[in-house]
């Protein structure tokens, strides 16, 4: 196991090591040219050493590169170009070293100008080989003049204007698939870079069969169980979201719509439009995966998505229990344990910083008075409040009339009376008031 790991590990070092010979060979060429000027003539001496280091580095890079090439599915032509140009490069580098070395120089005598020309040629060969290598890892079009000329498509303003392939399907494939399935790398002999290539398919046949989900290998692979060995994207790369899968399924079912066709041109788009809107991130369309539609509806939009974590830590250190009810938005359930002995003044600054995040609050049985609780109106998103077994009076109701999300208030075993309950009822939002063991007349006001 360990051996295998070092093997693949060193293979992956290739992109790192490969830059060493590049640097040294350029340095050698640079020194060689500089040494024509009398001022830098002494540099001639160092070229030999630089070339030697460059040669060793090049041999290492070739070895690691060979190991790496065994592991991946790379485009065969580009790979062999890269491989042979790389090996040639290393060999020439070695020969040039020998030429410049004193011991062998006499057998391999070349004139100074010829040597320089060879060195420059080596740099050219290296650039070619490097470009091939970059094409392997980054794709054929990573560094071409075409990329320079290409313009990014602007985001369409409406769903109708969006082109189904260019604005939706292609970006999905580019984000999730073409890292491996592109012209240069072609894992499984499949490229998803253009419609033409998509229609060609790969090793396992057609990637997409118009109108037939069952025979479309691409759809099959993205909808397998994530643990399945054939699941795509493989190796734990981020899978497609449900919405993206649905979009691709729609696109295939409707005959894998050609390029240049907008949503407006298509028929039966009632199901498609919201999916496209979600994908393009238009306002008002939440991805059902983020939190789920049914729960998202019920959540008060005023609750912030951020929280002051320092205050949470500070409260916890003071013995207050802070429970995270939800992370997006950040909803908190804050409980002061019964008879905690915590002084409210010590925790109010922290509470104030979390005011909008607190959704449930339980301060029961802590000997609190009305004055202690004057911060309550600031908890604008509060839904459930427990104040039972505290000597609070009707005064506390005044703090609660403005709370627009307050559903339930527990005032059991407090000094609340009917007057306070009536005041609470002025808040139409409050659904349930608990006043067991108080002077308020039970039932009458319920």
């Amino acid at each position: 196991m360990m051996l295998l790991d070092i093997f693949t590990f060193s293979g992956r070092l290739h992109p790192l090591i490969v830059h060493l010979p590049i640097g040294f060979i350029i340095l050698a060429a640079f020194f060689d040219i500089l040494s024509y000027r009398p001022k830098y003539q002494h540099l001639k001496q160092t070229i030999r050493l630089v070339l030697l280091i460059g040669f060793i580095a090049a041999v290492l890079a070739c070895t690691f590169g060979y190991v790496l090439s065994l592991g991946g599915d790379y485009d065969r032509d580009t790979l062999s170009n890269h491989k042979f140009s790389g090996i040639t490069l290393a060999l020439i580098c070695g020969l040039l070293y020998l030429c410049s070395a004193e011991k062998f120089g006499k057998y391999l005598q070349v004139g100074g100008k010829v040597f320089s020309a060879l060195l420059v040629g080596l740099v050219v060969l290296m650039s070619y080989s490097g470009h091939q290598g970059a094409s392997l890892t980054h794709g054929n079009d990573y560094l071409t003049f075409r990329t320079l000329m290409q313009q990014e498509r602007e985001k369409p303003e409406t769903v109708e204007q969006a082109m189904l392939f260019e604005d939706v399907i292609q970006p999905i494939l580019q984000n999730k698939c073409t890292q491996c399935h592109r012209d240069g790398k072609r894992k499984g002999e499949l490229s998803l870079e253009s419609l033409v290539e998509i229609n060609k398919g790969g090793k396992n046949g057609k990637a997409v069969v118009a109108g037939k989900l069952d025979s479309s290998e691409l759809f099959k692979r993205i909808t397998l169980d994530e643990d399945h060995k054939d699941f795509m994207p493989s190796d734990g790369k981020p899978p497609l979201t449900k919405n993206e899968v649905n979009l691709i399924s729609w696109w295939i079912k409707e005959g894998n719509v050609d390029a240049g066709i907008t949503v407006a041109d298509l028929k039966n788009t009632t199901a498609l439009k919201p999916m496209v809107a979600v994908f393009l991130g238009f306002e008002g369309f939440a991805d059902p995966e983020d939190g789920g539609t049914e729960t998202a509806e019920a959540i008060n939009p005023g609750i912030p998505h951020v929280v002051d974590t320092m205050s949470i830590t500070s409260l916890r250190n003071k013995g207050v229990r802070v429970r995270m009810m939800l992370k997006k938005p950040v909803m908190l359930d804050v409980t002061l344990p019964p008879k905690s002995g915590v002084k409210l003044n010590d925790i109010i600054p922290d509470i104030a910083k979390l005011a909008k995040n607190i959704v449930w609050l339980n301060f029961s049985e802590n000997d609190l008075t009305d004055q202690d609780l004057d911060f309550l109106p600031s908890l604008t998103n509060l839904e459930k409040l427990r104040l039972e077994k505290n000597p609070v009076t009707d005064q506390v109701s005044n703090y609660l009339t403005s709370l627009a999300y307050l559903d339930a208030v527990n005032l059991n075993e407090t000094n609340i009376t009917d007057k306070g309950i009536l005041k609470l009822k002025e808040n139409p939002r409050i659904q349930r008031i608990y006043n067991w063991k108080t002077n308020a007349s039970e039932g009458k006001l319920d």
């Binding site: 590990f9 951020v306 974590t309 939800l326 959704v359 608990y434």
Partner: protein, 505 residues
């Protein structure tokens, strides 16, 4: 005694511990440095996007495994319930004598169960050989109760009074037809033993709200007929770390076994002893890396805290007489179902996350009329009292109460049918459960069975659906709470389970 001579650091000369003192060897170096590169990459991937706040960056650590990532995402939804009390009626209470009112059976009494209803279902060995399967209606009358005029059997007069708070599910169905697999299925999502119980999953996923008490506490009634056994693995942690297992509280002198100090020991240096023990255990752990050592350390510490918290919560002396009257006369007798219901309320007040009661003896293969009557008598008042008590204290706001058995009972009589006596065999195809409190609709009945209470005709609820819904109410997505064991990720609901949206508020 006062002069302890262990002020210097421990140094163990046992060869097993020698690795502690060793420097990094070649293999370790390679593993650790390559992991380090991974950690750098991961750190920049995850960054401190978490919570949109950079005040306290939480840099993800490559060694933090999958489990930590799963737990970080919790809760998945805003929870409706903060705690659960699950009243497990072990043995399979008959739905026909309790909630599933089937008036048409009166005219069918004694007739053979039509094949069109049974549809070739395999019966248990206990009734498969009967020459006839005579149908039998409920021996007990039903009446309508509450604002919603819900039909409830006369056996449950107290429950009938709180029926407007209940969400009755009449269309439960299970896969197992015998007690142990069926209970194991309900509790762990699998008929074979070995998986974690619901309470353990919740403890693992959501943690504790009161560090002085276990997150998952189990109470078994002493007054249920123990005809079918209960095994501690029903509240076991399965493959989860063992600190998530349910802790059973008994009724005798020692509610939690081995918690009290032994005779002749005053416990004064207990804390010091535990600190040193924990140090030793940590050494052990850094050598062997066994998570059970961590569990052991935290269990010792929990036990220490429980030495004060348990006697406090078990003490019912402060409860006014009116409370005992509410729960019924049994409630003064520790270990009975009624006393356990009262205790459950006290535990819930302390924010214990999952309290599970078991009451055995619902397995009426014969003498059902008398058997079920005494079962109901032992449980009805206290069950209703628990609802009433939680409700008036405002705890039903965020507590989910669940009542139910592992399966139902057959419409036909097992054994001889007489005017006053019959039995009923196990029936997994339909049975009744109810829930009350946080997040479920009060005063409704969900799902329907046919006129024979044999097959479900509307809104079936599978055991996995029930489990998925339970987790949902606690803010957990049953598909995302997983634990990897033996090379595979497990869920409470296995590969099934749909949330029963119809009963959610």
């Amino acid at each position: 005694m006062a002069d302890h001579h262990h002020h210097e650091e421990f140094k163990l000369n046992d060869p097993d511990f020698s690795r502690l003192n060793q420097k990094l060897d070649r293999r370790n170096f390679l593993t650790k440095t390559s992991m380090g590169i991974g950690a750098l990459a991961l750190g920049s991937l995850f960054g401190n996007k978490l919570m949109g706040n950079s005040a306290r960056p939480e840099i993800s650590n490559a060694t933090a495994d999958m489990e930590q990532e799963i737990l970080k995402a919790l809760p998945h939804f805003a929870p409706k319930a903060k705690r659960i009390v699950y009243l497990f009626m072990s043995g399979g209470p008959s739905q026909i004598e309790t909630f599933d009112f089937k008036p048409k059976l009166v005219n069918l009494m004694g007739q053979d169960l039509p094949e069109s209803v049974r549809k070739g279902q395999r019966l248990t060995g206990m009734s498969a050989n009967q020459s006839a399967l005579p149908m039998v209606p409920s021996y007990y009358k039903f009446n309508q109760h509450g604002q919603n005029q819900t039909w409830v059997s006369d056996l449950l007069p107290f429950t009938a009074k709180v029926v407007d708070d209940l969400c009755i599910v009449k269309s439960m169905h299970s896969e197992a037809i015998n007690h142990d697999p069926a209970i194991t299925f309900f509790q762990t999502g699998n008929q074979l033993p070995g998986r974690p119980s619901i309470g353990s999953w919740l403890s693992y996923g959501l943690g504790s709200d009161n560090e002085n008490l276990p997150t998952f506490i189990v109470l078994v009634s002493k007054n249920g007929q123990k005809d079918q056994p209960l095994y501690a693995r029903l509240w076991g942690n399965g493959f989860l770390p063992s600190k998530h297992q349910g802790v059973q509280f008994g009724s005798g002198k020692d509610p939690v076994l081995f918690l009290n100090n032994p005779e002749g020991y005053d416990g004064a240096d207990r804390k010091e002893m535990l600190e040193y023990l924990s140090k030793l255990n940590q050494m052990q752990n850094s050598t062997y890396g066994d998570p059970e050592v961590d569990a052991r350390i935290s269990q010792y510490e929990m036990a220490y805290r429980m030495q004060t918290s348990v006697p406090e919560v078990m003490n019912v002396a402060d409860e006014p007489e009116e409370v005992f009257e509410l729960y019924g006369p049994d409630s003064k007798d520790p270990g009975t179902y009624a006393a356990n219901c009262l205790l459950a309320r006290k535990l819930l007040e302390k924010d214990v996350k999952f309290v599970q009661l078991y009451h055995q003896g619902w397995d009426q293969h014969d003498n059902l009329p008398s058997g079920i009557a005494s079962q109901c008598k032992a449980t009805d008042q206290a069950t209703a009292a628990l609802i009433t008590d939680l409700k008036r204290r405002g705890l039903l706001e965020d507590t989910l109460v669940i009542w139910g058995g592992e399966f139902g009972r057959t419409v036909y009589s097992q054994g001889k049918l007489t005017a006053n006596n019959y039995g009923r065999d196990h029936h997994p195809r339909c049975f009744t459960m109810w829930m009350a409190g946080a997040g479920v609709k009060p005063g409704i009945s969900f799902g329907e069975t046919d006129d024979f209470s044999y097959n479900i005709v509307k809104d079936p609820v599978h055991v996995h659906d029930f489990q998925a819904t339970l987790l949902h109410l606690m803010g957990v997505d049953h598909e995302r709470l997983t634990y990897k064991s033996q090379g595979r990720r497990f869920r409470l609901t296995d590969v099934e389970g749909k949330i029963v949206k119809g009963i959610l508020t």
